[in-house]
Symmetry: none
Subunit: 193 residues, 4 copies
DNA sequence: CATGAATGAGGTTTCATTCAT
DNA sequence: TATGAATGAAACCTCATTCAT
């Protein structure tokens, strides 16, 4: 609430995001988070009812950044080379994703996390997750109206497939190989035009 | 050692796989695994040096099944419609993936698991993980030689992208939408031919 | 210091008494007390050196009320039927006791509370606790002088036994049965006259 | 289950009983109990699901001892001087009570303890608590049939009042005065005969 | 005087692992 | 070989108390 309080809360969220990225959800103990944020463990519980709440707040915050960035995309339809715009978009998206990914993975890996309570908060997070494909699909539809994408293509499905491929490449061990966002775009684009 | 021992070992691996699928990696405590396998906790350590080893053995075993299935793929080059063969392949692959997925997720979500020691065991697991894309790439290359795929396409990269998209669709919340393996194949294939 | 300060102090004491009655001594955390009193946690420490002091103040205050009521008792000697006066007295006493009881129980249940330091405060509290039996004993002695109680009876001991029985009936699980203050009086009185 | 296991369980229960008597329920931390029993903290949870369960087991065990002792009482009707038998009985009872008392006090002082779950176990404990008054009442009734107690007296109520007074004298600060079990018996008996 | 954020010791509980039987 | 009791480190969380505002 106070200036000091808000600052602490922000530090906690930031510490959580970066710790989870480094050591995973279960490596990110309350103690480690408190240390990373430079506060005491008890302080966590003045700002969040429990560890999960902190965790969800971290997801939410990062997602918001992501959503905000994506909202500028549809306006770019027709302004440049399709492949380049997409590649640029996915590149930046993937950079942002690096932050959210570990949090989402933990969510996917631990059934209990997503289930118990916190439905409302998660609702917000899922909505945010729904954001990116939406904006991308809107952009693709705009390009389609401009005649730069084949008319028989479903923009929503393509958007999802693009993001899914990207997501997986960031996670999977197979990704050690040299497949870049540009590769993904190239393969897909040449099937759309 | 052999008769009873092997049976116990198999029961443990099986219990691990199904437990992880049900309750996630952290729900799969040694106690729960022992209970599910119908043995005592101590018995685990007679067959595996620690919990991670059991966990890796479980991955390995499931992967082997997967690898074995995929090895029949390259031989099918030229025998039918490209799209159908691929769709069929991905469909079966995705069914098999259901089992391995939770284990792989835990691996991806918990950096410590993959990192610390056990390089040898992991080597095996990664090799197994590498299997599927290999076979798929080999199949695509064969089709390429037969002229059914554009010559400027890199079969390895395409194989990886295909599998990656599939993987992500199985995990991510975005996957609630109606995107099927067939959709993925369609989008990609029309860009390759 | 005076106007606002005293009011706050009173609110704190009142909040403590009623909270302890509702949720027991350990449910009455400083946070809960502050909330119930409508002040901040820090404010508690502006009025009391620590939690125990607040707690003792609460005991003291309630006891005072009790003591005050009892002081009217000795004057009633000889004014009516002995059994009725006693029954009336115990009835009202037991009603008052409801408030103090939880506080006293906490005291009895937690040896550390009574022991460590605070001898002075406790001295006051114990004096207050000693009050009721004193007045009751004084009343009984008066009746004895009037010849309404057997001369070989020790008024102090009887007073204590009366109060003790009452106290226990209010606490113990055996008290679920139908034993009333009147029953206690009847049994005892018929042994005294 | 095994011999060693049972021994440990017994040690834990014993350690709990004596610790609670010394330092109250909240002073009896799991750590302190484990130390007193000479085992590690974790061991507690192999034998009891949580701290409350251990606590209830301790009550139960001590109550059983008490109940067993009381069952010999009714048989003594008519064998000696009424006052002496009762005094002897209350004396021994009060000695036994010393052990159970702190446990029962904690129960009375902390509403949450008795409430949440464990109803079944508590059922047993309460039944045990009901035991002593029962036996005492049975004894008084027997004496009544022998003509040594006035016929218009209710043995059950008297039994409860006797025990209640005793209980309170063991707890309350007023008990510092010189009121003995014999005093209680004397006052009451002279009203009954 | 009052606030409420921050502290940090300490509580209960979990769990991979060891060891006596 | 198999058992399951025992271990102990560490996790999450609570709460009386202090301190900057």
């Amino acid at each position: 609430m106070t200036a000091r309080g808000d600052h602490t809360k922000a530090k906690l969220i930031h510490a959580t995001t970066s710790l989870v990225a480094q050591v995973g959800y279960h490596g990110a103990t309350t103690r480690a988070i408190a240390d990373a944020a430079g506060v005491s463990e008890g302080t966590i519980y003045r700002h969040f009812p429990d560890k999960r709440a902190l965790f969800f707040a971290a997801i939410l915050e990062t997602q918001e950044e992501l959503v905000h960035w994506m909202s500028s995309l549809p306006g770019q339809a027709g302004t440049g080379d399709l492949t380049e715009i997409l590649a640029e978009c996915l590149l930046r998206l993937s950079a942002l994703r690096q932050t959210v990914l570990p949090l989402e993975l933990a969510l996917a890996a631990d059934p209990q996390l997503a289930t118990q309570g916190h439905v409302i908060d998660l609702g917000g997070a899922v909505a945010a997750l729904g954001g990116p494909p939406d904006q991308l699909a809107r952009y693709l539809a705009a390009e389609q109206r401009l005649g730069r994408i084949r008319p028989d293509v479903d923009p929503v499905k393509v958007a999802i497939i693009l993001l899914a491929a990207l997501f997986a490449l960031a996670v999977s061990p197979i990704a050690d190989s040299e497949v870049t966002a540009a590769d993904v775009v190239k393969v897909l684009v040449e099937g759309i035009t």
